[in-house]
Assembly symmetry: D2
Homo-oligomer: 426 residues x 4
């Protein structure tokens, strides 16, 4: 199923009369304050967030999974789903594959399909947290950290295969998230586990093409519940530095202990030129993988504020690879992604509205009240008209979610795919 | 120092041209959706939040205190400060006294001063967490829970004196926050401590006038670091029920363990008719006592959403007594309170904008996506024009903080009071 | 497979020479202080902890599951596994069934098998957190709390069937753990969800036999990540009180927010006569379901200290129903249970060693240092010889884990059952 | 007041009859397993933990302070107090001064006093979190991170003065704990604050004598409640590396977010050769500064397990500078320190008892059950007889706390110093 401009234009006609005055009123107001509206809209149009293949089906918990109807059953289906989201939002122009769930059959056809939908192949993801059928060794006790060199070798080879697949599709980076860790005190020799992991990552790094980046993800716990080998950004940075210039830390918003000041970590890593990847989601308790912005939108804004600052001031840091890493247990996965993209855009535009010069001046004057006012003024602004305008100018949907529902896209997917498909993956 | 309408009008003239079109644009838009703007503005005008006397001076931490200039040195000064805030905002029409820091000398004069500023006397607060000079017994090991009946008696008598002072001033409720707890396993017999506390509270409750309410505050830790006698809402509710119909639980936003779902506690207590008092502040780590809305504004909105729902649907629950319980370490305390009041009003109006009928219908349809959309649509709305309009109609300041600064009110207070005054209290 | 006394005696012979002097040295030392060793040993012999049927196979996480060899594939197998543990420890004389995973076929045969192994049927557990094949309605959006009365009815009927099965087997209590909750703000109307849950529980309660108890479990989050209907002990107690005298709160150690003082909750509930069930496990981050005592053994001791105190002083509270609720991802499940039982016994005996009179006196003297010393003296005592002696006197194994390994019991189970069985359940 | 060997011997006579058989029984048992008891006892005798001068008086919270009688009012008094503890335990052979609270008057006399008591001068601590009388600039908005270079300069100069004082007394290291941070989003430019701090620390580092070490402490929050410049070990390590080879990270147990795996941080830093200082205390909620081992003794053991491992295997890492950093609100400070020292020794000896070879073998076999057993076997051993023996051989007290009480040392201090002295410091 594919959306064309005509269908979207017709839908947009329903909203255009409300949109136009709202947009102009806001644009006028902001321009009076010296905001360059055109530039902001261009930045919104440029922001592209990768959709991971596993986010297109219903996720689950250890207590069970409630499947969703019309889930994509093949890589082609998944790319097609991302295509729908991208057509609606002009913000999802990339897909992030997970191997071995998404091994492409006909590479050429897959690439053509993606290209036809404006979808690029972002970072590829390896999986060494599950055993696959017919594996000779098990990841039960870890992969790159394993005390058994044969298991480490297996995990390294898997990563090299992932790179190979990525090369064929046009990816330029590898994301390594390790479940490696321990459930009980005594299970791991921490130093050996860390050394093994470093050695393994160095091996993988050296095998990457020269124009690839390696993203090292960290997480404090789950699926191991006493220790994780790469438990925090400090460990990730240490490993990235041990690998080389093109190895970076990847931040996943949900991978932090309670109350962590994540925006400060963003600032530190960008200052060091080492923030390579960024996974969006939201959470209240842990790695809840909820819709972006659904629980802590101000925190998302504060993080974007540091990202925007870093992109303007830290030329040594690459533009991070953006991805949504959420899991959709009870919502239609596509609706959930539309909500996530909207939340990302809102926080991004709010951050772009921050009066950076005023803020620096207030900070230097140690005017705490005013510094807070400047941030909150940007956050309290209802920026949705700007985002709608950016979508309009990109021939996307003024109201992606309403349009998705009005066109009964899920209904069409069910018709095409049936009610009881199950997405490959978790 | 006192602000009159003329001064404020003059200040408002600076902002009125910007305000009017913003207000009308927003009001039109909302009215088209069926929102009763007049009613919302009236509700904003009616909302009065008590200022506790201790919030008017700089707070501190155990690592030190940086005092602020021009702090109020007497109860009269404190009332006068609240008068300033109330004149600017029309939202701070009450003061909450803390005994023994605020024992009034000339009761009649104090009452006249407050009345002249439109200030009422809200709940009175007892203090059994500090020893006072010349006390015969110490609260070192607790007050209402103490194993020594003489200490319990001392603490009970103190509360009765606080009630007496409150009666003279026109208060109608007593807030009991207990620091009682233990620092080490074994220090307390939990059951005895709880029983003693219940007995003491029942004694105090019985001694209150018939038209008074008792608010029982809870807190999981600090200043005791292993256990607190009233550690959570469940314990507070148990004690309130053991006292009687006019005893209620009081929620202080900062008094919760990490990740607690506070809005659900609000809903449960209002359903039971037992939410009596509400203390506003914000925090990232614990009882940080930061400016309201400065860290988690969406959480504040979700809490207001439950408060609004409860006020509409739970006629068995009284309107909670609102108070700001923040501590101002590095900002001008009055500026901090102005920011807190603004944040409270914003969240309140956003909650009033929630489409309650649409939300109930979406919930019944189990349409999770739409339920979230409805809440977030209200939260994303920039409601500041409505709040400004409400202030304008009340002859308060369109822009309280800017007006406070433009009039150099802190400079005038320093002139009056000197640079090195120290507010009584913590 | 079944262990007989002869086999165990033979094994015990290996350890008896080390055991006897250690036991006598410790017994002498304690008796000199006035400890009644005989009574302690009897209490150890009496303590029986139920094993839930699902703990006998390998658990998993949402990221995958590593199965264990020789897992029990039927209810008979599960009872047989508990029989092994009970023979080794004389502490696991009960099994707790989970319906629909453990629906008995031939009830009479099942009862005879259990009786032959000394196993009783403890609380039965309902499951409304997973959909079962061919269900007409789904629990996706909750069960007893659901806005759809047909789903509530389905969940109530399921609980009644569970009671029916329990009646046939000789169980005397029903444990209700609800996954009911929400993943996003707005999804639930908190008050309606709580009211529906209360109504449903009352219905179930009324349908129980007169000599049954209802245990209402609470949990702050997971598998829902924004709210849980029964989020804490306060809510559980409220519901239990709304049901009636034979409804109680059930504490699961892993179901608390970070830093919660659980021992104080134990004390409060026992004082109210409302602690009915107790689930043991351990955790570092959340509901990690780790081996009991593997992460926080002192916390376990402090909790046992309150349990012992309550059992001695709160005659209005029944003896709680003890159960292990752990999940074994990477260990042999039977080894894990043996370690859990050992940890429970150690903490229990340490708590029995607390000098209660000395402690009360120190508390009344407000001698904090001494109070701490008394607790820590008990905890620092190596009580393992007492536990070994209790096992010896019960014809169980002096060293259950070593014996389990020496007899290669897992090897025998694999021989019997094969390598690739999968336990029914999660 | 000074304790001599005769007094202690007399006291020891009361306990020797109980001690000897307990010691021999345990020593025999352990020696049979191949434990080198003599070596363990020597290690216990060698372990010396510095007492910070501020721990000798009662601490407080922001809610007040309950002073203790007979507190030390001068540096001489403080050294004398440490001398008492050291005489009782032979474990407190060092004091850690805090400037400006402890500026020595007569340096020669102070050094002689300390030498006569066997006390050395450990790391000196600077204080830039409080303003001192007559300061020209304020630390209200930070010290080494301040946007105002004049404040940074003031803070740097203060640290240089602290080094100067340390040099005179024989210290060889400087500990920098910074309260620097922010209370509100927007207050700090994170990158500038970090850069300023790094520049300032480099300046201080370069000014240290060539044989000194710099310890950089980290803390996630308090006294600032939104951000701390050196929020975690990763930031501290980054700064230490930017300073040079003799700059190290310092771990304070209380300075971590909820649930942090601290033992893993210990392992990582020792592997990198960068763990320089170690502050002991205990906590349940945050930086509670409770008696060591009073809340989480198993966690303390696991940390010591990594420290012992690192000291044996990481020759690139110096022996960390040990210090107790607790605050005594309600106990006699000297009793509290005696309990802390005992807890440190117990955990240290338990860690020394870990069968390292067996553990490594079990880890390599991926025998999780056995790895846990090995650690827990060491922890469950009652090692107090070994510690008593070590004290006995050092002419210290078999039972320090009981001896302290039997000799009524606090009573004597009150007699000497009076009831109402207040220790200088916090």
């Amino acid at each position: 199923m594919k959306l064309n401009a005509e269908i979207l234009n017709e839908q947009n006609r329903r909203f255009i009369k409300t949109h136009e005055p709202e947009y102009h009123f806001l644009a006028d107001k902001l321009e009076k304050r010296g905001v360059d509206i055109k530039q902001i809209i261009e930045k919104v149009q440029e922001l592209q967030v990768a959709i991971p293949s596993w986010a297109l089906g219903a996720g689950g918990t250890r207590f069970g999974r409630f499947s969703y109807q019309g889930e994509p059953a093949s890589l082609e289906d998944k790319i097609s789903d991302v295509g729908l989201i991208h057509a609606l939002t002009n913000t999802a122009g990339a897909i992030s594959l997970h191997i071995p769930w998404d091994v492409p059959g006909d590479v050429k056809a897959i690439k053509e399909l993606a290209a036809s939908l404006g979808i690029e192949f972002d970072a590829v993801n390896s999986n060494t947290f599950q055993d696959q059928p017919n594996m000779k060794k098990s990841y039960r006790f870890g992969s790159l950290c394993n005390t058994d060199s044969a298991v480490r070798e297996l995990a390294i080879q898997h990563n090299l295969e992932v790179i190979d697949i990525g090369k064929k599709l046009g990816s330029k980076s590898l994301t390594v998230w390790l479940a490696d860790g321990s459930n009980f005190p005594g299970q791991h020799n921490f130093q050996e586990a860390l050394q093994n992991t470093q050695d393994s990552l160095q091996h993988i790094y050296k095998s990457m093409p020269d124009d690839w980046k390696l993203f090292v993800e960290y997480k404090p716990y789950e699926p191991n519940f006493y220790s994780t080998v790469i438990q925090d950004w400090g460990t990730s940075l240490m490993l990235a530095e041990a690998c080389g210039d093109r190895a970076y830390t990847l931040i996943d918003l949900g991978h932090h202990l309670p109350n962590t000041n994540i925006e400060q970590i963003v600032a530190t890593l960008m200052m060091k030129g080492k923030l390579g990847g960024f996974h969006f989601n939201d959470s209240k308790y842990g790695d809840d993988d909820l819709t972006v912005g659904s629980v802590k939108p101000y925190s998302l804004f504060l993080i974007w504020n540091e990202l925007v600052y870093g992109m303007e001031n830290n030329s040594n840091n690459p533009i991070p690879a953006w991805m949504i890493d959420a899991s959709h247990n009870i919502k239609d996965p596509l609706e959930d992604l539309l909500q996530s993209l909207e939340a990302i855009q809102i926080a991004y535009v709010q951050a772009l509205l921050v009066d950076q010069n005023g803020l620096r001046e207030a900070q230097r004057q140690q005017d705490v009240t005013l510094s807070q006012e400047i941030l909150q003024d940007a956050f309290r602004t209802d920026v949705r008209p700007l985002i709608r305008e950016a979508r309009l100018l990109s021939n996307a949907a003024l109201e992606p979610l309403l349009t998705y529902r009005a066109l009964n896209l899920r209904g069409q997917l069910i018709k095409e795919r049936g009610s009881y498909t199950v997405a490959s993956g978790l």
